[in-house]
Amino acid sequence: MPTKVKKNHRKEERSLFALGNEAVVEGALLAGCSFFAGYPITPSTEIAEIMAERLPRLPDGVFIQMEDEIASLGAVIGASLAGRKSMTATSGPGFSLMQEHIGYASMTEVPLVIVNVMRGGPSTGLPTSPAQGDVQQARWGTHGDHPIIVLSASNVQECLDMTVRAFNLSEKYRSPVILLLDEITAHTREKIQIPNRETYEIFSRIKPSMPPEWFVPYEESMRGVPPMPALGEGYRFHVTGLTHDVNGYPTSRPEEVEKLMQRLFRKIDQFFYDIQIIEETACEDAEVVVIAYGCVARSAHLAVLQARELGTRAGLLKLKTLFPFPRPAVERFIRQCRAVIVPEMNMGQMSREVKRVNNGLSSVRTLNRIDGQIITPAEILKVLQKA
């Protein structure tokens, strides 16, 4: 049962010793999230629980526990259409159930954030163990070709930062954004710095700025991202998961369908460099680079430092954007290095992407674990030294 929580409208910067999942909540509130719908599932549950405590204390915050994950994402889409920055959080099985609605959000260009705290599995799997098995699913889980943005985080501060980032990107590009965490990152407590809301860059969807009668909901434009009114604001538009024309009405005319689909992809593609977020450690002169993300990037970080001490010119490329795949960054190191190493807690899901762009230029080594245990620095170090 809750006791008092202090006012939420903090202006000053403050720090907290927080769980990764807690940091997600802090990030979301900072980004302006005021709507959460979800369904409990380990190891994401704390996000819902903390939201349940925090949101009702905000003047316009809404928390609702839905009957399942399908309903949760349905409600989030509805709330976003009604003008709210909205999110949900889940884990593997729930994420699988959300797939139909992820496609809907992508097709209808509804900004929202889905946090998927990956656990071991397929299926019910290992509910309380970490894994990185949902990476390709985050990209391809829904039917039909669709653009999507997938981010990840590897420590608690990044949980906050990347949640803010996720909201910003979703609002900027009218796209669902998936934040992939793993059980370790979500369940580690560390100190985080919560920045001042005023000084932090927060992006909100652009609203139409013409009289309603002149508003064409899905009009072509340079940016490719149409302005988005909220339901009830006077711009009466139609939203549909069917392929639609610029007015939003269903169409199956090939030229209109083609235009729609091209625009959906283009709006992500052309802002690639805004969306690609990576972090390099000791990379300038590296001969071997480890490409990692999530909790494994932490092991990799230590391994790289240790390898340097042992005389190997190792570097770390940490991916914070997983999709669209940060190809240019990866290609740079493929050219520069005699080998790149991709350690992952799955059977090789990001390494596929690396191999795809490798084109025979470098040697791509993989290091995989799927037993619910984190890959240790020592394991990575071993591969580093052999590479």
């Binding site: 010793f17 420590n155 369940h187 407590r189 932490r298 230590l302």
Partner: protein, 194 residues
């Protein structure tokens, strides 16, 4: 804020049974070290069905540098509040690592070199509330471990607990510290490095 001790990487495990307040203790200790003392701390813990009365565990990695790998690899200090926990985790202790047990519960230690204090008995008998054992332990840690600074821990308790519970907890903390000091007066000098 610069922490008083330079710590390379110190790995600590609190272990025992569900209901002994181990997870809370991990949080309080971590928060104190991270927020009050400015160390880098990564705290993880066991989840899952064991949490319901089964085994319970909280790990802290403490360092003056940013922590890359957040899980302990070889423990510098193992705290065991149950025999099972002691048996299970002793092998994770690194050579020269320290073992601290509740000797009212852990009857067989795998080594003769250890610190033992009866946290649970103390809490029950001196304070009349067995749930305070974790705070007694925290007090003991504040004496036994150099960088666990009493003032910081107390401050941590003050900010995280409601006034209603604060007093009794501080009392337990004090008790632990006193008892530890009594039994191991010179312990802090034993530490060679972190």
């Amino acid at each position: 804020m610069k922490p008083p001790y330079e710590i390379q990487r110190f790995e600590l495990r609190l272990s025992g049974l569900g209901g002994q307040g181990i997870l809370t203790l991990g949080k309080v200790l971590g928060a104190g070290l991270a927020l009050e003392e400015g160390y880098f701390v990564a705290q993880t813990q066991s989840y899952g069905p064991e949490a319901r009365g089964g085994a319970s565990r909280s790990d802290l990695v403490i360092s003056s540098q940013p922590i890359s790998y957040p899980k302990p690899e070889q423990l510098d200090l193992l705290v065991a509040l149950s025999q099972e926990a002691c048996n299970q985790y002793y092998r994770h202790l690194k050579q020269g690592g320290y073992l601290l047990v509740d000797d009212s519960l852990v009857k067989q230690t795998p080594t003769n070199i250890y610190w033992g204090l009866p946290f649970t008995t103390l809490a029950k008998e001196k304070l009349g509330m067995v749930q305070a054992a974790n705070m007694v332990l925290l007090g003991a840690l504040a004496h036994l471990v150099p960088f666990v600074v009493p003032r910081a821990m107390k401050k941590g308790l003050e900010t995280s607990l409601s006034p209603k519970f604060l007093e009794s907890n501080l009392k337990a903390f004090q008790l632990g510290m006193t008892q530890a000091k009594k039994k191991y007066p010179n312990v802090q000098t034993q530490w060679t490095s972190f």
